[in-house]
């Protein structure tokens, strides 16, 4: 299950006719019950400077929510097939129309509706088709595996498989559940902002629900922390989208665990700095890491993934830049595709990260085999059968130690295949 795994959520999805294929392309996910101190919402968005209309709306509402001017979101309305991006004021107006329609159907303010769109850029959103389908979906909202599967399928674009994740854990005497769906296969290199810091880059979308009780500002803090360690750690094509969005709704309806000595009381909202908050962050991270991994495994044309750990950097930022430069090099990606232990491409990619390096302090290990040490090639390594095995693995792993400090970072990419080219050479035409 996914988004209706936590208590208090329903979902429905169907075909509004946005995708030319006629496949499902519209999804509605809603939270039940009145707002409460524990029914927060939070979101992180792309840092691309060109923003899809739903992202502009979402960022604006996030700011208003955190200032207390509006209440939390209680519904996601998500379409695939059209990103409503590069559409100017018309796009904003169209997003507003979808929100208003859902608000009317759910008897909630339009600002409590969180819109999201993915698909072709620069085409006017077919709002009429969406509005015509929404009342069907509102009438079909339900819980369970069928609704969850429909939701996950309706948000796919070039994805080959739907992506879902769930986790649960007893926190503060209550069984807290997290459920989620995600999409993304191309234009994937999310670098998400947070509500409190500034910084972002793919279209990947993830919609998360939880029955934890947690207010919006604490939920935002949890999401900020988790997104930077999950979605921000993957790249398919080093081209962040104008629409990348990760959003979460909390119902606060987690059930008390019998025998936990707290009776059947409602869960108290989780607060930053507490052990219970950390426990929630841990299961949220588990879900987000799973989704991020599923996205890169299903990267356009990908046949295998490539995990790079950089250690010994002078700062985490340096470590991240090094790891990111390596997984994004087309030459490295082709070598991974060809199972070619051409590690010089890895080392020189690192050299392009804009981080000062000292070759004499560097070493590189692929799988269990050290191939480069203290700036020198280990020639026998190329004959080691374990190196060929490591390069042929479904998940190729390498570790670059730069010897300049204590910081480390990991990024996960994928190989570059001829299939990638054919998928992307003919997307809109």
């Amino acid at each position: 299950m996914s988004v209706t795994f936590p208590i208090g959520f329903r979902a429905a999805a169907g075909a509004a006719g946005i995708k030319p294929s006629g496949k499902p392309d519209l999804c509605l996910i809603t939270r039940d019950g009145p707002d409460s101190p524990g029914s927060g919402s939070a979101a992180v968005f792309t840092r691309n400077q060109i923003l899809g209309a739903p992202v502009i709306v979402g960022k604006r509402n996030r700011a208003r929510l955190l200032r207390g001017e509006i209440g939390p979101a209680r519904a996601f309305v998500i379409n695939a097939g059209n990103s409503n991006a590069a559409t100017g004021d018309r796009g904003l107006h169209d997003a507003d129309a979808c929100m208003a329609a859902v608000g009317a159907l759910l008897s909630c303010p339009p600002t409590a509706v969180f819109p999201s769109s993915t698909g072709v850029i620069g085409r006017v959103l077919p709002v009429d088709k969406i509005l015509a389908k929404l009342s069907d979906l509102a009438a079909q909202l339900s819980r369970g595996p069928v609704a969850d599967a429909a939701a996950a399928a309706a948000i796919m674009t070039t994805d080959l498989v739907p992506k879902t994740a769930q986790a649960e854990r007893v926190i503060a005497g209550h069984l807290v559940r997290v459920g989620a769906i995600a999409k993304g296969s191309g234009m994937i290199a999310p670098r998400l902002d947070s509500a409190t810091t500034t910084q972002a880059k793919g279209t990947m979308l993830a919609f998360i629900t939880t029955d934890a009780a947690i207010a919006s500002n604490d939920l935002q803090a949890a999401l900020d922390e988790v997104a930077s360690l999950s979605f921000d750690r993957i790249s398919v094509d080093n081209h962040p989208s104008c629409s990348d969005t990760v959003a979460v709704l909390a119902s606060g309806l987690a059930q008390a665990v019998k025998g936990a000595g707290r009776g059947l009381t409602a869960m108290e909202p989780l607060q930053r700095g507490t052990k219970d908050f950390a426990a929630f962050v841990a299961i949220l991270a588990q879900v987000c890491e799973s989704l991020a991994d599923q996205i890169v495994v299903d990267g356009e044309g990908a046949t295998r993934t490539f995990r790079v750990e950089v250690a010994g950097a002078d700062s985490r930022d340096s470590a991240e830049r090094l790891a990111r430069e390596i997984i994004n090099s087309p030459l490295v990606k082709c070598a991974i595709h060809g199972r070619d232990p051409n590690w010089g491409r890895i080392v020189t990619a690192a050299g392009n990260a804009g981080v000062p390096l000292d070759a004499a302090k560097m070493s590189l290990t692929i799988g269990p085999v050290e191939v480069y040490k203290a700036g020198l090639p280990i020639m026998d390594a190329l004959k080691d059968p374990r190196l060929a095995d490591a390069m042929a693995a479904k998940r190729v792993e390498c570790k670059l130690v730069v010897g300049l400090g204590p910081a480390s970072a990991t990024m996960i990419g994928c190989d570059l295949s001829a299939q990638y080219v054919s998928i992307n050479a003919d997307y809109t035409t």
Copy 2:
């Protein structure tokens, strides 16, 4: 012709056995005559933090030359098939051995020999093979089309065609010639340093000769200026090499033009700030722009090139970053390959350049057709047959206006094809 087109240069090339294919892989280019005030040399190198041994040696000797501690270079010794990079002190020792051998053959100091290597990274240079071949080459040094063609062929790696350029112009009463060879097809996104500023990124190599009289410091200034406007403006794969090098030798032997009223006197060295210097920079630029263009046209797997002009940026740096982000996006490159006018990829790529943008001020034109204006799609544009023609052109051209200032920049990239993947998935194995 190429490197022996200017007066005072000879070349020879052959197979030393470095390339497993047995193709030519060693090239020697020399300047005749004694050093004079007009026989300068200059070079620019990759800004990759991991440097091939010849680049380390070359940077060191450039600094010594500009401090007056050593004389100008008078010979290039270039091998393909092995980059002598990621080879530590052993690599430096091997480069020194090649320089010493050439110095002995030419009766010049080893520091007057400029070494360069391209090919697989992380393999010990087969110095014995090189040394065994050098005396043959020294005995065969000659001028003319045959020597020039041999030189251009010997430095190729995955290049499909040799690259040469030449230009001539009467400057200060003398017929000044510039000739050059270059190589490069993959690991191409040169960002070259200069001797005076700090900054760099592919293996592209270019070796230029001229019979202009110009001292090393003035020649370096000319090369710094020209490289930033030619080689730095191209990218095949956004992976600058550890070996990128552009170097130039001047003989000072340009012949006086009859009737120019100066008799048969030797050319006086050109000096910065003069009209004659500017005239020399112009023909040097003509040669470098031609070579840079030839490299991107012959980019690995490339079927067409893609030229992006960014205008209206707040600074040249912003304009360059925007143009670079666009030509390096794999999604944009695939769209070019597929002749797909999916311009949303271009606009969102720009959004990832780390440059603040205002969509409402932006417009994009592909060929003669404006597709995006003031943040809005021009829907009729997609039906314009001129757009399809522009996308199908051998040289696709687009212009992005960002409306934030007066600065502009141009970058030239190429499409991403399935052939690119097959070339690079199986390079060393």
